[in-house]
Amino acid sequence: MAIPGQSSDTAHLNEGKTMRAAPRSRKKLAGQMKSSKEIPKDAIPEVHIPTFVESMFGGPLVPRMRFLPADKMVQTLQMLSGVVMILLGVLTYVVTPVSGTLWFTFSEMIGVEVLGIVLHLTIVLAALGCGFWGIFQRDARFLLASYVLFILVSLRFASSKVTFQWLPIEGEFIEKVLLIMYAVFLVMYMELTNSVIRFSMLDTSIRTGEVYVMNVKKVLNRYHISLVITPVIAAAVAFLTLMINIVIPAVVGLFSEIAATRLRESVELTSVYGVALGTMIVFLVVAAVFGANLPARIQKFRESA
């Protein structure tokens, strides 16, 4: 006897399948089926063959995950990324003059110099536009385009020395500070926009129950602290590298004042090759630290304390 309000079939008892007392008419079903030699779609397992670019980078460049609407954690990161991007846009415009770029050379060749400036500005604006779209739509493809455009705008044949065409800045120290700020903001922009995608993935996984996060606030706090500390350290290292034309003569000056003066006046040391030398020295120290397995040793010491 059928219970009022409840289906009379047995679907609720057996994985949603209706159990019947008599077999179905197979012939009738067979009659409805089309005679086709095609392989049914569900018979072919889904296999993702990585593209050439994916195999080169060891995985997809942009995640294909669909995100749920952004929560507070992601929104904060989006706002922060937006602010950093605007500052980066301004700094990019300041520290990357149009002279020496490919488009400026081209516009000079055709005799319309203003075209080069317009193109330069367009690239910066396009980078900002792509960035905005990427950040707020959480579309990693646009973010990638934005990174490429930000790097593209600074690709130019330079005369080895730092030149700021748009801002009449004089003084090596200020120049280098601005340069480091630009570099730090570019790296921070990449990291923050990356984190928008990363935390969106995490947030979606949390809300779909795929992952459970204990003490979300503590985990986020750690990230926020790192967001402050890491750029400061990176800036300090970069500053040390860029100021190598002062550091090396100061060290050499302990032994020979004449040699130090010569070094101070050397064009090479103040040029990009001086920076390369500085980088080499700094990273030789870092390599030595890693070579001696110091991070693991320090960790071991802390773990056993």
Binding site: E15, T18, M19, R20, A22, P23, R26, A30, M33, K34, S35, S36, P40, D42, T96, I151, S154, L155, R156, F157, A158, L179, I180, Y182, A183, V187, S195, G209, E210, V211, Y212, V213, M214, K218, V219, R222, Y223, I225, T230, I233, A234, A238, L242, S271, V272, Y273, V275, A276, F283, V286, F290, G291, N293, L294, P295, A296, Q299, K300, R302, E303
Partner: protein
């Protein structure tokens, strides 16, 4: 990727004599180096060996002080049953750690409640409990574990992973259907009384007939109403209850797994065998089991609840492998089965040319043979993997085989996937 970008920018900066690019590269490298330093990710040591080659203690200092324990709510469940898993993760180190913990589950398991993937901050010398519930939709032997633990730097550039080898096994029995009657009984009584009447007078519960009193009959069997009516002392005779030896034969050849993972002949066969075993054992019959695939696995007849679990365990572990013919099975088991015992065969009847001969042998020795045959044709047809012509041809061949088997006196039921077992059994016996 960031590392490659940094190096590319650095090289490009030097080539183009562009300080902007070199500075960006330096900042990026510093950023990465700091992250690596914080994550303790000195990948290549001074000796030149990679970390994976080192001892466990050396390789993952930050992970060496972690341990895990697991507890399951049940070690044996039926299909669609649930198991509650409690994972305890302990941090023995004096440092706080942000950990990603993933408890590895068999692919077929579904998480019903909670999560097996946790991101957490575990304080110094603290422990935490992770609880989740899994649903087990398919029979089999399963193992949960290992526990994968991962530590990564806050930016997600570097990570370090370790597997904690904590394993827990559990068993999923095929689910059973409640049967009211299996319509199967032995023609030859055994000396012990059971719950099945066999149409012979003797000790039992069902009325059989009336007969005249003979000295020695118990007083309680006298039918006083009949005595008053007929004028002579009459006693009630009862139908003898007896136990039967039931032999269930399961086909677990490779062909029996044709069809979707959760809907194929073997899945239905094991569920039917479990239901039948439960039913027969509950009425005190002896039940034996033969599973044949790449080898013949048999469980000798016995009674009781313990036997049920022995049978369920064998059914849980039945794997679709090999192609042993049915005749090989019958030749091997025939000398060991009591004459007249009911035999229930659960097979898709495919890809075996010895079926007719095997059933003929059984019938020739007067065994009561019931064949329930879940057809893989139907599973394939339902999954739309078989076209109309193919289905019709194969179905006709199958119908001919079934008719032939019926002609030998076996009770055969072409078991449709959506049909209840009790209905299929009744259909097989002609009810």
């Amino acid at each position: 990727m960031f590392g490659s970008l940094a190096i590319a920018l650095y090289m490009l900066g030097l080539t183009l004599r562009n300080q902007q690019l070199v500075t960006v590269a330096v900042v990026l490298l510093s950023f990465l180096t700091w992250a690596a330093l914080k994550a303790g990710h000195a990948d290549v040591a001074s000796s030149g060996r990679r970390l994976e080659e080192k001892t466990d203690e050396e390789a993952g200092v930050s992970l060496s002080n972690l341990s895990a324990m697991r507890k399951l709510s049940a070690a044996r469940v039926f299909e669609d049953g649930e198991v509650e898993v409690t994972l305890r993760v302990q941090n023995h180190s004096p440092l706080s750690k942000v950990l990603e913990v993933r408890d590895s589950l068999p692919e077929v398991m579904r998480i019903k409640k909670g999560a097996n993937y946790i991101l957490m901050e575990l304080g110094p010398r603290r422990e935490t409990m992770i609880e989740y519930t899994i649903e087990c939709p398919l029979r089999g032997f399963y193992t949960i574990g290992p526990v994968a633990v991962r530590i990564q730097d806050t930016f997600g550039f570097f990570h370090r992973e370790k597997e904690l080898h904590v394993y827990d096994d559990f068993l999923v029995f095929p689910k059973t259907e409640d049967l009211k009657d299996a319509f199967v009984k032995s023609k030859v009584p055994k000396i012990f009384t059971g719950a099945v009447n066999i149409r012979q007078p003797g000790p039992g519960s069902e009325f059989y007939n009336l007969r005249e009193y003979v000295p020695g009959d118990p007083m309680k069997s006298i039918n006083w109403a009949a005595y008053a009516r007929m004028g002579k002392v009459m006693v009630n005779e009862r139908e003898r209850d007896a136990v039967s030896d039931i032999i269930i034969i399961i086909d677990s050849r490779a062909v029996s797994e044709t069809g979707p993972v959760s809907r194929n002949s073997l899945v239905y066969g094991t569920r039917a065998a479990a239901s039948l075993a439960q039913f027969f054992l509950s009425r005190r019959d002896s039940v034996g089991l033969v599973v044949y695939g790449d080898e013949i696995v048999s469980v000798d007849r016995d009674t009781g609840k313990k036997q049920l679990y022995v049978l369920l365990t064998k059914l849980a572990g039945a794997m679709a492998r090999g192609n042993t013919p049915l005749q090989v099975v019958t030749n091997r088991i025939l000398p060991h089965i009591n004459k007249g015992s009911p035999i229930i065969v659960l097979s898709c009847l495919e890809d075996d040319s010895t079926i007719v001969n095997a059933i003929r042998d059984l019938r020739a020795r007067d065994f009561d043979v019931t064949i329930l045959t879940p057809s893989s044709l139907e599973f394939e047809f339902d999954a739309r993997r078989l076209d109309r012509t193919g289905y019709e041809v194969l179905k006709t061949e199958r119908d001919i085989l079934i008719s032939e088997l019926r002609g030998l006196g076996a009770f055969v039921m072409d078991w449709e996937p959506d049909m209840l077992l009790s209905t299929a059994l009744a259909g097989a016996r002609g009810f």
